[in-house]
């Protein structure tokens, strides 16, 4: 089968890109490994700005799917891409082992594979009943099954706060949200360091008290005071205690999760005695999100590691093309920024691809509009995964420009040009 574009990943970025390409007459296939397209939108649920309207991700997912189908996009669900060869030849198979699979030829490939959760090993984390926080979100909001009756959450971040709230709303007893252990795997998390990132989140907080305290967090002294005098019973958000000065030492149980051992920690994250065992049947671990870039790596892309993008991402230009010609990226694979930015990036990538393949009649103004819409979405996003994301994006642009300069210098000296 030969098409113009294969989009890997049917989340907000992938679907948005496919809509742009399909609606201009391009032949595009979206490959997604879940039963229904929509990616992480399917489980997302949060309250908008004035804290009264509920934003339901699955409604947006349905809308995108309908638009894609209306634009003649072919969506292959419950299929995975297991390999690619330059040219492009994309190898696709069912999720089960014994089918024969298929190969699709395409001029361009867009990787919109999103992110995976960073694992956070804690003794006992392999026990049944321990879930990555994303699994708890899908279970609760998509399938409407409670992860557990008594839930403990490890990791204090935007995602864990939002999902803890979802679980409580659904009827779970969320006993508390605890700090991750201080270790190389948590980037040496500590209450003091954590208050720096938390202060970015307080504008999003529901209660006036937390918003006021938020102002205290803007200065280093304020943070030291806040860490030192953090209430031992935790500060409650939506009725769930957040324990900045406590972490999980171990998850206990013979066949499944039965309890967790909690310890008090100092402002730098070191355990300072006062251990307690708490009964629980579920532990949700939030280690943060990391771009899922394995196909880009396999295709030979160059990468950059930038904290503001939450990890290692394929190096790409403003039009979202990577260092491998005709390989594009959009969404969380380019850096963790959430659904709204992902959609804007998807639309941009779709237009860039149409431009490259001369699909439809794109004008310079269309491209400029798509670029500024990404910026606009970034500013409007009320959930920021990292405070330094804009700086990281600027740094990424600089790195691309430097690389291009180096390549053209090599060209002048007669070396092989490998990069676009």
């Amino acid at each position: 089968m030969k098409v113009d574009v294969v989009v890997v990943g049917g989340g907000p970025a992938g679907l948005s890109a496919a809509i742009e390409i399909g609606s201009r007459g391009g032949h595009v296939v979206v490959v997604d490994d879940h039963p229904t397209p929509g990616g992480k939108l399917l489980g997302q649920l949060h309250q908008e700005g004035n804290h009264s309207n509920w934003w339901k991700g699955f409604e947006l997912a349905q809308e995108l799917k309908q638009k894609a189908l209306a634009a003649n996009v072919c969506i292959l669900s419950e299929k995975q891409v297991w390999g690619m060869e330059p040219g492009w030849k994309v190898h696709i198979s069912d999720l089960v082992q014994n089918d024969t699979g298929m190969e699709i030829q395409a001029d361009c490939v867009l990787l919109a594979t999103g992110a995976v959760e960073k694992p956070m090993p804690i003794p006992g984390w392999t026990l049944p009943g321990v879930l990555a926080i994303g699994a708890a979100q899908v279970m609760t909001n998509v399938y409407q099954v409670l992860p557990g009756k008594k839930v403990i959450v490890a990791g204090i971040d935007i995602l864990s706060l939002s999902i803890a709230r979802s679980m409580k709303l659904a009827g779970a007893d969320v006993e508390g949200i605890y700090m991750l252990p201080h270790s190389p795997f948590s980037n040496y998390a500590s209450p003091l360091l954590h208050l720096e990132t938390l202060n970015e989140m307080t504008d999003f907080a529901p209660s006036k008290m937390i918003r006021l305290t938020g102002k205290l967090l803007k200065s280093k002294t304020g943070r030291k005071l806040a860490a030192q005098f953090y209430p031992p019973m935790g500060i409650k958000m939506w009725g769930i205690p957040i324990h900045l000065r406590r972490t999980i030492l171990s998850i206990n149980g013979t066949h499944e999760v039965e309890s967790v051992t909690i310890t008090k920690i100092d402002v730098n994250g070191n355990p300072i005695g006062e251990q307690k065992v708490i009964q629980a049947d579920t532990v949700c671990i939030s280690g943060g999100l990391s771009p899922l870039y394995e196909l880009a790596a396999m295709a030979g892309c160059k990468f950059v590691t930038l904290e503001g993008l939450s990890g290692t991402v394929p190096l790409h230009n403003k039009e979202l093309e990577t260092t491998v010609p005709n390989l594009f990226v959009a969404g969380n694979i380019t850096g963790i920024e959430g659904a709204k930015v992902a959609m804007a990036q998807g639309a941009l990538a779709g237009k860039s691809i149409c431009n490259k393949l001369r699909i439809g009649n794109l004008k310079i103004a269309d491209m400029e509009e798509a670029l500024s819409f990404v910026e606009h979405s970034r500013k409007l996003s009320d959930i920021q995964f990292h405070p330094k994301v804009s700086e990281a994006r600027e740094h990424l642009d600089d790195l691309w420009k430097t690389l291009i300069k180096d390549v053209s210098r090599e060209d002048k000296n007669g070396s092989n040009q490998k990069l676009y």
Binding site: P181, P271, F303
Partner: protein, 92 residues
């Protein structure tokens, strides 16, 4: 870090002590640890443990632009039956 042991590579059941033993025996990067402990060689092909090994043995990036990891990525990136790979090779 606390005293209790924990698993680093869930697929191959490699513990933190196994990794530390490999480092003590001379492994100096994640690829060498993979070779001596099998961490990263299981069914998920390092998808979960790659960042953990990276945190224990940071790759030294002198340049900001780099290749992704010492643990290289190979096709297939998902487990597939041999029939598919054979079919692919036959079609070349």
């Amino acid at each position: 870090m606390c005293n209790h042991s924990f698993i680093i590579c869930r697929c191959e059941e490699v513990s933190i002590e196994d990794i530390q033993d490999a480092i003590a025996a001379g492994a100096s990067n994640s690829q060498e640890v993979k070779m001596s402990t099998r961490a990263g060689m299981g069914i998920c092909q390092g998808r979960l443990c790659r960042p953990l090994l990276k945190a224990l043995l940071p790759d030294n990036h002198k340049e900001s632009v780099h290749s992704p990891s010492q643990l290289t990525f190979h096709q297939p990136v998902r487990p597939v039956s041999l029939a598919k790979i054979v079919k692919k090779e036959n079609s070349i």
